[in-house]
């Protein structure tokens, strides 16, 4: 049998791709991997010089974060799940029709889109005091719903920008055909645009979830006991008497799990629907 030089080349090329993938995953995740290892080191091993490669793992830090640390870490995680989920779904519900209007009708493309997108460029801190007063009078201080509404505000620029960009690329023939069949705008949105946008909707949802999950400033300023999100909760181990590295690492690793689960759940779906969308389009 003659070995095809071309297939040989392809195999080498493919192997190279795997090498790149593994390198990329390792380098990009180096901080996370290191943190993961740190979370299992005893405090003496964390402080050791030179740093240790081999150590006997301990669960003490996880125990401190979850049980003995006088914090309510599981409830912080739950708070963040609620805040990020509500903030994400609401942002999509609000921006999806708006993005369609902007992309197709050009309504608001000259005023709404610039104003909303610019919000992302603003340091959010200047809203800290007005939001505080507003929430104080509405009774929204230290509530998950209050923080979810802010998460939504933070997500809207990204969601709107990405959805407008994507919906523009959906062929106009699709909605024009539906329109000729007598479909009204809501039906077009529901039956034509929504299915075609599914990959980007998932992407926006995952990204919005992550951004909401990572929000720190408003979580700090607007929560006290009941709505403390996980980012703020994790810094409870950064104390005025030094950083509890191990506990902070454990808190960080626990805080990654929910978005990671969503990632694993969502990506295959994004990938598949992208291919399907591409074949249809």
């Amino acid at each position: 049998m003659i070995v095809q030089p071309k297939s040989m080349l392809r195999r080498v090329g493919n192997a190279m791709r795997w090498v790149v993938l593994i390198l990329a995953v390792t380098i990009l995740n180096l901080p996370v991997i290191t943190t993961f290892l740190t979370s299992f080191k005893s405090t003496a091993d964390i402080n050791a010089f030179p740093p240790k490669w081999i150590f006997s793992p301990t669960l003490d830090h996880y125990r401190e974060v979850l049980i003995t640390g006088n914090t309510h870490y599981p409830s912080y995680i739950w708070n963040s799940v609620v805040i990020a989920t509500v903030g994400t779904l609401l942002a999509i519900a609000l921006t999806f029709p708006a993005a369609y209007a902007i992309a197709r009708h050009r309504t608001g493309s000259t005023w709404l889109l610039p104003i909303v997108s610019n919000l992302r460029a603003l340091p959010l801190i200047i809203f800290a005091i007005p939001f505080y007063f507003m929430y104080q009078s509405l009774g929204l201080l230290d509530t998950r719903i209050g923080l979810a509404l802010i998460a939504c505000v933070i997500n809207i620029p990204l969601a709107l920008l990405m959805l407008v960009g994507f919906i523009q690329d959906i062929p106009r023939d699709l909605d024009e055909a539906a329109s000729l069949d007598g479909a009204n705008v809501w039906q077009i949105l529901r039956h034509v645009i929504w299915p075609a946008s599914r990959p980007i909707l998932f992407t926006v949802a995952v990204l919005s979830f992550i951004y909401s999950w990572n929000e720190f400033l408003f979580g700090l300023i607007l929560s006290t006991k009941n709505a403390v999100p996980v980012t703020v909760g994790a810094t409870f181990f950064v104390t005025s008497y030094g950083v509890k590295w191990g506990a902070t690492a454990a808190a960080m690793i626990l805080g990654i799990l929910p978005p990671l689960l969503i990632g694993f759940f969502a990506y295959p779906y994004i990938g598949k629907s992208m291919l399907r969308g591409a074949i249809k389009g």
Binding site: A44, F49, V86, A128, F133, G139, D142, N226
Partner: protein, 441 residues
């Protein structure tokens, strides 16, 4: 999913207003003091609290952004807490949001806290807080290495050579109690491996040079021991002075000769402890709070039990240490002022509570009678009392409403100078100008 969301939304809205205690205390988070304060609050609830018909609870914000959160809450009149953290250096900033408690201070209080401790919680003549924790600085040094330096002829010889070469004068090793700032610098050089290849440690000392206001408190004993101050008796700003230039130069010499780790410009409290705890640093000036951590063989096996404490090196004006106290004061927005005052009164007069607080790891600036009771468990406490009394200083203006903001400006400019971003003259004139503006209006 929809039901779940709805349910959690409703839950979120309803739990927000649920109260669990009569009074809520906002305190400084972390370490043994946090654990100790929780115990003290439990003690109150089990004893005096029952008599007062009041129940106390403690909350802690994250250390990261603590002051920002507290400032926003206080300024907006939050009712989430009744008692709030006070500190010598920011009483001026928070005084508008607090109520004075002078009427809670009398002879009963002075049986627990000496008058000069209460003094650290005063602003414009009124007392705003009951002090909980005293903070000041010690020189932490490795007894083994300094001991050898004082006795080993080869080391003494080498020390003399190094001091002659780098400082221009032939110095002999001295015990840390007798150091002046030249001895401090010379010893730092001696224990730096890039200068002295035989040094057992990589660096002589470790400086905390991050752009952070607390680091400036740590530094400014160099200035005070040379007679420097923010302003003189007439209110003239005196940053542009020999004392400040000398203080800046002490650090600059150590930085430029790499006698402190190369990444010191990002160091604060924790990093300095890591460096010292790794056994690669011979001595450092550090907050008193680091003692238990560094002496714990579980956490720092390299140095636990191997170091001793003393005061900072002397300048021409003697030995100085920055000091301040943290305390608890009454929030003006509190809805339970009566109960909150009862708690403060108890905290300020209870020998039992303060003894317990000290034994569990807090550092209350209490009278000698109480200090001596806990001295076997907390040998650092009497020493702190003594240092605060003999060497303690507060910069003139260091408790004003501008103090925090001025510390920030000092931090930005002086860390910039040490890192080579700014010249000495620029750094000093920037600080002078801002300080003049602040105190002018």
């Amino acid at each position: 999913m929809k039901n779940l969301l709805l349910a959690s939304t409703i839950a979120a809205l309803t739990t927000a207003s649920a109260a669990i205690a009569d009074i809520t205390i906002l305190a400084w988070p972390g370490g043994d003091p946090e654990k100790a304060l929780r115990e003290v609050v439990t003690l109150y609830n089990d004893t005096q609290g029952k008599e007062d018909g009041s129940k106390a609870d403690v909350i802690y914000f994250s250390r990261q952004g603590f002051k920002e959160k507290m400032l926003t809450d206080a300024a907006a009149g939050s009712t989430e807490f009744d008692l709030m953290l006070t500190a010598t250096y920011d009483i001026g900033r928070y005084a508008p949001f607090m109520l004075p408690i002078d009427d809670l201070i009398d002879d009963e209080t002075y049986k627990v806290f000496p008058p000069n401790a209460i003094e650290t919680q005063k602003f414009e003549g009124s007392v705003y807080g009951i002090p909980n924790d005293l903070s000041l600085h010690f020189l932490y040094y490795r007894e083994d290495y300094i001991g050898q330096l004082l006795s080993d002829p080869a080391w003494i010889e080498r020390y003399q050579e190094i001091s002659e070469k780098h400082l221009g004068q032939r110095l002999s090793p001295k015990a840390p109690e007798e150091w002046n700032w030249d001895d401090y610098i010379a010893t730092a050089f001696f224990f730096t491996r890039s200068i002295n290849a035989d040094s057992p440690t990589r660096y002589g000392t470790v400086l905390q040079l991050k752009n952070l206001l607390f680091n400036m408190m740590l530094w400014q004993a160099t200035v005070a021991s040379h007679g420097g101050d923010w302003q003189d008796g007439d209110g003239n700003i005196t940053i542009d002075s020999d004392a400040f230039r000398r203080g800046l130069a002490i650090y600059k010499t150590i930085v430029d000769n790499k006698a402190t780790p190369g990444d010191s410009s990002s160091y604060e409290y924790g990093e300095a402890n890591s460096a010292f705890g790794s056994g690669q640093v011979a001595f450092m000036i550090q907050w008193n709070a680091a003692v238990p951590e560094l002496n714990d063989p579980e956490q720092n096996p390299e140095v636990a039990g191997k170091f001793a404490l003393t005061h900072q090196p002397a300048g021409p004006e003697g030995i100085k240490t920055h000091f301040h106290s943290l305390g608890l004061g009454l929030s003006a927005a509190s809805e339970n002022k009566d109960d909150a005052r009862k708690f403060l009164r108890w905290l300020g007069t209870s020998v039992e509570a303060n003894t317990m607080y000290a034994q569990l790891g807090g550092s209350p600036p209490v009278v000698d009678a109480i200090m001596s009771k806990v001295a076997d468990k907390r040998p650092d406490l009497p020493m702190m009392g003594e240092h605060a009394g003999s060497y303690g200083f507060v910069m003139n203006g260091g408790t004003s409403e501008h103090a925090l903001r001025l510390y920030e400006i000092i931090a930005e400019n002086f860390t910039g100078y040490w890192a080579g971003e700014l010249s000495e003259d620029e750094a000093i004139s920037n600080v002078e100008e801002e300080m003049r503006k602040a105190f002018a209006g």
